[in-house]
Symmetry: C2
Subunit: 94 residues, 2 copies
DNA sequence: CAATTTTGGTTTATAAAATAAACTATATTA
DNA sequence: TAATATAGTTTATTTTATAAACCAAAATTG
């Protein structure tokens, strides 16, 4: 009862990022910024943290065009999210 | 979609405190410390924050015996918790 | 086409939060 | 009665979140 809450996911912005990514194959920086309403700086930092933890995979494209940063969940990230959700349930009347 | 998460409740320890209090009429400091495994200092600080926000009501008894700090949810606190749970659902596959 | 603005970010500085360590006062025990 | 334990609070430290300042390339404008 009252399981540990993965601190990497227990943060509003990172949870939002992961929650969005769980629903799609992949999403880019601009999409995430618009959906989360975060500032670019904040989003950049949090994407890095998720990436360093290997919860998401980040591809930085530079194809003559403007840069494009594409994110997607890793298997490890999906597992972590599922664990987080289970852990959360121990706190909630669900 | 992706509702605001009340920062006062989106904290593992405070969420634990509130989650425990939601299940009972009242609980004292020692009970909360044992259940949450928090240090007394940390627990004390977080109880203060919840109390200052009027999410919980705190009674400090000094009846010749050792001190006894009793906490219980306020109506406002219950409402806040319910809102928080609803908001969380926008992030989760529930 | 040169200057300006916009886009898509990163880096760094600041503010806020969580947490533990140090401390206090009373009570209990040896 | 001296030592220890209990029930906390206060303060200092570490960590985290967040925004502001910055940068390079692309698009726009006059």
């Amino acid at each position: 009862m009252l399981a540990e809450l993965d601190p990497l996911l227990h943060s509003q912005l990172r949870l939002a990022i992961v929650s969005l990514l769980m629903g799609v194959e992949e999403a880019d920086f601009v999409f995430l910024r618009e959906k989360t309403q975060a500032t670019a700086g904040n989003l950049s930092v949090q994407i890095d943290k998720l990436s360093n933890a290997n919860y998401i995979e980040v591809l930085k494209l530079q194809s003559g065009k403007r840069p494009r940063t594409i994110c997607r969940m890793t298997r490890e990230g999906r597992k972590a999210f599922e664990n987080y959700v289970e852990a959360l349930k121990s706190y909630l009347p669900i």
